[in-house]
């Protein structure tokens, strides 16, 4: 069940109607049941994995406080092995096998290994990372283990963020699930505004951009350098609209339930450096990687070489998290190199001000922004291209100004960019994602009507799945 489908448009009001009339305890049971129903609409068989992950982490965490240090480490190992085992099998098994075969062939040792037809369970990377974070936090003594399995079950399977995040932290989400919730009129209003903004990003920007992206990346040899460059821009809009749109809808729906989810995107395409970009893009994943990978690897401690190594390893694994393919690893690698170069360029300097820009002058900020966007766009080619060789071909065709017969239009790109800026600029200036609510009522009325008309008239009209569902 996708957020942008009629099924969800029926499901969500039904859940809300029942939720609002129930007392707190049955509310949690309802949340858990509806979350499992939501997930089973995609494929009921994989609810077993969700349940397994929930039971293992709940049990392991419950035993941890009373266990000896050695036992605690063993319990943590059980949790990590279970979660990474599930993730590894369903997501990386065939990739590892394929890479092994290729390596053996390169060494002149032909190998015929078997491959399995494995379906990737939707959202597996998100919920396994979320449950692992919980067990690690209990292991570190940062949080108490959750006693109520229903509460913990919701933490793992909470439907607004189950399939594409944000990857929530136990410290943030569990207390909200445990507590008696209230929903204020402000929450309802801002939740609805977030849903509308999310739908605009997804249905109007991302889904329409997808048409041109698919055209460009399916056969780049037919497209000239200008078309390819436009294709990269279209994809930049698509992935941002798609993922930020999902996060907005998830936060909006959750707000209607009285639960606040963390902000996952903070106008990343306005970032004036790659470091700032990663503080604004997929915040829940980048902070997860920082807290549970980069810092445990040593972080900035030790020599500069170690810090660069840690950064690179984190980004490579971050790339691999997105998908089982070398193109994702290379995407992570490009960002790792860019972050390393920026770290080196920055030296001991801190960002110039609280708004996180490295530059004191407008010209400097503009140059920083242009360089950042060039790096991000270049990396997107590897992220989206079906294979590494096609990605290289695209880069080569753009750099050599190659001709092509397929024409890619510019007008929709301008339209999408205009809409994106119309949403992002007010948010950036005010620092408020629901700044619409602060505007005078007549402006609000016009904006709401325009947003609805845009959704109706310019929505793609097809149920295009969210890109991050595949991760």
């Amino acid at each position: 069940m996708l957020f942008n489908t009629w099924e969800f448009a029926v499901f969500m009001p039904c859940v809300l109607a029942c939720y609002y009339i129930l007392a707190p305890r049955p509310q949690n049971v309802l949340l858990l049941l509806s979350s499992y129903f939501f997930y089973s609409c995609w494929d009921w068989r994989f609810t077993g994995l969700l349940l397994l992950s929930t039971i293992v982490d709940y049990t392991v965490a419950r035993f941890m406080p009373r266990a000896s240090p050695a036992k605690r480490r063993f319990l943590l190992l059980i949790s990590i092995c279970t979660n990474l085992g599930i993730l590894g099998f369903f997501k990386y098994f065939n990739f590892l096998l394929d890479s092994t075969v290729q390596l053996l062939e390169q060494l002149g040792l032909g190998a015929n290994l078997f491959f399995l037809e494995i379906i990737l369970p939707v959202g597996i990377s998100f919920y396994t990372f979320q449950t692992m974070a919980y067990t690690i936090d209990v292991f570190r003594g940062r949080i108490e283990p959750e006693k109520n399995i229903v509460v913990f079950g919701i933490y793992v399977a909470y439907f607004p963020q189950l399939v594409a995040g944000p990857i929530e932290r136990a410290q943030h989400l569990l207390p909200q699930i445990r507590a008696r919730r209230t929903v204020s009129s402000d929450q309802i209003a801002s939740g609805l505004v977030l849903i509308v903004i999310g739908l605009l990003r997804k249905v109007v920007i991302a889904d329409n951009a997808a048409t041109y992206v698919d055209l460009v990346f399916s056969d780049p040899t037919e497209v000239g350098w200008q078309g390819l460059a436009k294709g990269v821009l279209y994809f930049s809009l698509q992935i941002y609209g798609d993922f930020a749109g999902y996060s907005n809808i998830a936060r909006g729906c959750s707000r209607l339930l009285g639960i606040e989810l963390m902000q996952n995107f903070d106008i990343p395409y306005f970032a004036t450096s790659i470091t700032i970009f990663w503080r604004k893009w997929h915040i829940s994943l980048s902070s997860w990687l920082r807290d549970y990978l980069y810092i445990p690897l040593g972080g900035n401690r030790g020599s500069a070489i170690f810090a660069y190594r840690n950064l690179m390893l984190t980004m490579l694994l971050g790339g691999l998290w997105h998908g089982a393919g070398w193109n994702f690893i290379i995407w992570g690698g490009i960002h790792g190199v860019a972050l390393g170069v920026h770290k080196w360029w920055l030296g001991d300097r801190k960002p110039a001000n609280a708004r996180m820009t490295d530059f004191r002058s407008l010209a400097g900020a503009l140059i920083g922004w242009a360089v950042t966007m060039a790096v991000v766009g270049f990396a997107w080619v590897f992220f989206r291209a079906p294979s590494f060789s096609i990605a290289l071909d695209i880069v080569k065709r753009i750099c050599t100004f190659a001709d092509g017969s397929l024409w890619i239009p510019t007008t929709p790109l301008i339209g999408m960019l205009t809409l994106l800026l119309a949403i992002d600029i007010p948010q950036s200036i005010s620092g408020n994602q629901v700044v619409w609510l602060r505007w005078p009522w007549y402006v609000r009325g016009i904006v709401y009507a325009l947003a609805i008309l845009l959704l109706v008239l310019w929505g793609s009209g097809e149920d295009v799945p969210f890109i991050y569902f595949q991760f």
């Binding site: 929903v183 009129s185 402000d186 009522w441 609000r444 009325g445 709401y448 109706v456 008239l457």
Partner: protein, 345 residues
């Protein structure tokens, strides 16, 4: 614990925070619905568009005539039958034959047109309905005309059990949503109004000579034949056709089902490339056993003396082709008229 305790009544004070913004939004949406989506001025302004053609035909042709023969169908019948030639052949006064076939017309469009103008049409004697084999290989689509004209009952019937049901039902209440594709197309493509043009031989002028010159016959044939590959067998259009037939028969009208013959080259290509599907669709059509007075099913143009040169493309006829088909069908119509004169003088 009280029910509805989830709401924080400290902030939920509707009397203090009246939602003026929402009200403004609603008023704007109602304005768009009334002024654009539910009014005819925008449709009338673009009378040659897929949507505007129907009311334009009603104003310019149907309400000015007292037809004896009416023709419904798609663009191939639109181009294939000439009312003036038929009138000459049958010795009828001008305006007795109406060719109301529409571009991309489907049985449902004909049903709607008949329903809207039944008072005029019920006096007719013969109805010629075009049928295409690929009608029987396709489910009804959510077209502009469905979005604009379908009743609630139609929407349920056409899309029951299909993904389009929900948008079709919502579109029935909220027309801005129902004809969104049309409004978008208007904004994107049409900035200048156009008017309906009827040629001297009574056919709607739709074709553009410049475009016709550029047609590559080989690829055109290939492209249209591919529908035989992709279309799934479905009975949706056949059911609409049955409804139209039943409604006309209630009014005492004789029905002639006509398959407008396709270009010989196209028919041969179809049989060679998709022999199985072609056979299936033919069989499917005969299975319906339409209770009509006459079925004329010339497969190819050359079966009735219309050579490939008399076609623009895979199946649309030139003036010459239209003349030949009209002359070929006239004797059949004469016989039906004679039979009908006893029942409906």
């Amino acid at each position: 614990m009280s029910r509805l305790s989830i709401f924080s009544f400290n902030t939920l004070q509707p009397w203090k925070t009246f939602p003026f913004g929402l009200l403004t939004c609603l008023l704007i949406l109602i304005g768009v619905e009334v002024v654009v989506a539910r009014s005819d001025w925008i449709v009338d302004r673009f009378s040659v568009s897929s949507l505007g053609i129907m009311p334009a035909l009603e104003d310019e042709v149907i309400r000015k005539a007292s037809p004896e023969i009416i023709c419904f169908g798609n663009s191939r019948l639109r181009d294939g039958l000439s009312p003036r030639i038929l009138e000459q052949q049958l010795g009828m006064p001008k305006g007795s034959v109406l060719n109301l076939a529409l571009t991309a017309g489907k049985p449902y469009d004909s049903l709607v047109m008949y329903r809207r103008n039944r008072e005029i049409f019920r006096h007719a004697k013969i109805m010629i309905i075009d049928f295409e084999y690929h009608y029987f290989g396709r489910a009804p689509e959510f077209t502009f005309r469905v979005g604009r004209h379908a009743t609630f009952e139609d929407r349920v019937r056409l899309f029951e059990g299909r993904e389009q049901l929900m948008p079709a039902l919502i579109g029935g209440i909220w027309h801005t949503f129902g004809i969104r594709d049309y409004l978008r197309a208007l904004m994107m493509e049409s900035s200048e109004a156009d008017t309906l043009v009827i040629a001297d031989d009574g056919r709607i002028v739709w074709r553009d000579a410049e475009t016709d010159e550029q047609i590559n016959i080989k690829s055109n044939i290939k492209q249209h034949a591919s529908k035989y590959e992709t279309d799934q067998l479905d009975s949706g259009h056949a059911q609409e056709l049955q409804r139209l037939i039943a409604m006309a028969q209630q009014d005492g009208i004789v029905i002639l089902l006509l398959h407008v013959p396709v270009r010989g080259e196209f028919a041969r290509y179809l049989k060679e490339t998709y022999p199985k599907k072609y056979e299936q669709l033919h069989r499917k059509f005969t299975k319906y056993d339409f209770d009509v007075d006459l079925i004329l099913d010339p497969e190819r143009g050359d079966d009735v003396g219309i050579l490939d040169q008399s076609y623009f493309d895979y199946g649309h006829m030139t003036d010459d082709g239209s003349k030949q088909l009209s002359e070929w069908i006239a004797p059949h119509l004469k016989r039906l008229l004679e039979k009908q004169s006893e029942k409906k003088p």
